[in-house]
């Protein structure tokens, strides 16, 4: 029984990465209508960015938590300005293909320069060690990841669903012409939103750098799972993807306890079931 508790807790921790990543994906899909297949590559860039800040500029973990998402976010905004914005109004497939191409380029370049086995990044001194919870040894860093990502998720949700800025943004996706008539610069807002979504991916990358190897393909294996999370949560639904992200972590934890081989596959079982029962995902709107 103790082992089960431990698996559920670890699941929750993994869930916070799913939540952060799928949140970014959902923001981008909801506001820009783009299926961002480059998300995994941008997550990887976040982790690499933290590594470079530390090893080239001597900037540690804490500033990197803010700086890396900004740097990668700016990179994302450049992508949006130069390429993605030409795809507005076209089918999803083109956005998917374009971002997939971008992901290949980014991953290929990183692989060429830094090799495939990756680079080391240590846990910051303040968060080293762990607490014995009785049923398991919880590294302090993992506890920090859960709390921090929960805060970021809720803040993002609040920003988009409850503030005036968010309201403008949602209005702009519904009817850009009308919103523009109110004197709001819609294209700039779209660009900033893409930057926000990308920044969230990079933030997840920085968070994962101390626990996973920082390597070029670290995001490639994750993207399809995160993608499934967004679909299960309902395409474009912010709250849906946050909840689904954490829930998937817990369900995976459960699977790892009962049938570990299937832990990477359970998300797809879930997706089939959800789509059959609720065609638009748990909280989504119609396609």
């Amino acid at each position: 029984m103790q082992a089960l508790y431990a698996q559920l807790l670890v699941g929750l921790i993994n869930g916070s990465f799913y939540a952060l990543l799928s949140l970014g994906l959902a923001v981008i899909f909801g506001m820009l209508n783009i299926i961002n297949f480059a998300h995994g590559a941008l997550y990887m860039m976040g982790a690499f960015c933290a590594y470079f800040l530390l090893n080239l500029a001597g900037i540690g973990y804490w500033p990197a938590l803010i700086l890396a998402p900004i740097v990668v976010g700016i990179f994302g905004m450049i992508l949006e300005r130069t390429m993605l914005q030409w795809l507005s109004g076209l089918d999803h497939l083109y956005g998917l293909l374009l971002t997939f191409g971008i992901a290949l380029i980014v991953q290929g370049l990183f692989q060429n320069y830094f090799g495939s086995s990756g680079l080391p990044y240590a846990i910051p001194d303040e968060l080293k060690g762990g607490i014995n919870l009785g049923f398991m040894f919880l590294p302090i860093y993992r506890g920090w990841v859960v709390v921090f990502s929960l805060v970021v998720c809720i803040a993002t949700w609040y920003l988009i669903e409850k503030t005036r800025l968010g309201a403008n943004l949602r209005a702009a996706t519904e009817n850009p012409t009308l919103v523009r008539a109110f004197g709001i610069n819609v294209p700039r807002m779209i660009t900033l939103t893409y930057g926000l979504g990308v920044g969230l991916a990079a933030l997840a990358g920085v968070l994962s750098a101390p626990i996973n190897q920082v390597r070029p393909l670290m995001g490639a294996d994750l993207i399809i799972v995160v993608f499934a999370v967004v679909v299960i949560g309902g395409m474009g639904s912010i709250m849906g993807s946050i909840i689904t992200g954490f829930a998937l972590g817990v369900i995976e934890g459960l699977t790892k306890y009962v049938y570990p081989e299937a832990s990477n596959t359970v998300v797809f079982v879930l997706m089939v079931l959800v789509l059959l029962v609720k065609p638009t995902g748990l909280t989504g709107r119609a396609a």
Partner: protein
């Protein structure tokens, strides 16, 4: 006009003469390095393997003796069907004589079949599967560097001897992981240890801590990692995070390369013990090679055992061709010659090639140094044990290879 015609006739006659000489004693060799340039294994093989092949050509001094050697390379993208297509085209169109490296087990087995069908040669340096010299052995293939049986044998025995009498396996859920677990289980059980559990994880798992927790809860003294690449490095990193090594359990890497240790850093990797058949800082011969190698690598990396194997394997191949006095373009014949001759090169020392295609050399058990012990970059290993070649690999008596006469 008359002069011109006679000159032409003379030229033709000369050309014919030259042609017939070339026919009698063909001194052309084409080497194909089929490797992973862009994926998981690109650090331990990849461009470094191609460089090692070029260095073997230069160091052999074959050009001075009138041989003409070309090296080409391609990326098999870890897909068996792409690999087979490239390989077939190399044999049919490019007239490649020998395949080098061929990392990744699935790809190696696929190319192994083709090489046999086309009567070409493969010296496999990169793949782990011991099937290449067992059930799937071929008169055209030599497995040069390591295999799952040897890794299990060397690491398993040494750790049991050092007191690791209870084991728990963390196994990547695919054929390679299962084979490694099976072979290691056989070895450690024979040595008197007990396997108290195993957990299979999907390959490329984003998180391995859940599986590590199960291993931790088992209280086994040794946690055997029957996985590879990113899964292994993440396991090691997260094991240190969850205080598993600090709690008294020991991690046993069943397949680790120096490039993995380099990417983990000594702080995380220290104390790990595992088996390789080559280390750049082993003796004067390996150091001299490594020095010349790393200067020419873009990343300044030291050679891995796979890359060293490409170099060593090619040197032996050249020696066999010299003995034959020319390139017969007959794979089975060349491999038979290579099996007859004892091997000797600065990287792997003296050894031999068995009837089943297994190259025999000692296996070394290394322990990763602590950051304090390390004197500089790439100074990572200390040697803690050596298994002689005749005991390291699967004995011929257990072999299922049809080439072995019983």
């Amino acid at each position: 006009m008359k002069n011109a015609i006679s000159a032409l006739l003379l030229g033709t006659a000369l050309a014919f003469a030259a042609g017939s000489v070339a026919f009698a004693q063909d001194k052309n060799i084409k080497i194909g390095v089929l490797t992973d340039n862009s994926g998981l294994y690109s650090d331990l093989s990849g461009a470094g393997s191609t460089l090692a092949a070029q260095m073997a050509v230069e160091d052999s001094g074959m050009a001075a003796k009138g041989w003409k050697i070309d090296v080409i390379s391609a990326d098999h993208q870890n897909k068996p069907d792409i690999a087979v297509n490239i390989a077939r085209q190399w044999v049919d169109v490019e007239k490649v004589d020998i395949f080098m490296d061929v990392v990744s087990s699935g790809v190696a087995l696929a190319v192994n079949n083709l090489v046999k069908e086309k009567n070409s040669v493969m010296i496999n340096a990169g793949a782990a599967t011991s099937d290449l010299t067992n059930a799937q052995c071929s008169p055209n293939t030599i497995h040069w560097v390591y295999d799952t049986y040897m890794l299990a044998n060397s690491t398993g025995q040494a750790l049991v001897k050092a007191g690791g009498d209870t084991w728990y396996f963390l196994t990547a859920d695919y054929a390679f992981g299962t084979a490694l677990e099976r072979d290691t289980t056989a070895v450690v059980v024979k040595a008197g240890a007990k396997v108290i559990g195993t957990v299979k994880h999907p390959i490329n798992s984003p998180d391995l801590s859940s599986f590590l927790l199960q291993a931790q809860a088992s209280k086994a003294k040794i946690i055997g990692m029957a996985n590879a690449g990113g899964d292994t490095t993440n396991t090691i990193k997260q094991a240190s995070e969850f205080g598993i090594v600090a709690g008294g359990q020991k991690l046993a890497g069943l397949l680790l390369f120096i490039t993995d240790v380099h990417s983990l850093g000594l702080k995380v990797a220290q104390g790990l013990s595992f088996t390789e058949t080559f280390y750049w800082d082993l003796n004067d011969g390996t150091r001299a090679f490594a020095k010349r190698f790393s200067v020419r690598m873009k990343s300044k990396a030291q050679p891995s055992m796979v890359q060293a194997g490409v170099y060593s394997g090619l040197l032996h191949y050249f020696k066999a061709l010299e003995q034959l006095g020319g390139n017969p373009h007959d794979g089975a014949k060349v491999v038979a010659k290579m099996k007859e001759m004892p091997t000797d090169d600065p990287l792997f020392g003296q050894g031999s090639i068995r009837a089943d295609g297994r190259k025999i050399h000692p296996a070394y058990l290394f322990e990763v140094k602590t950051p304090a012990e390390s004197k500089g970059p790439w100074d990572y290993y200390k040697l803690i044990g050596t298994t002689p070649g005749d005991q390291a690999f699967r004995p011929l008596s257990e072999s299922a290879c049809p080439l072995v006469k019983k």
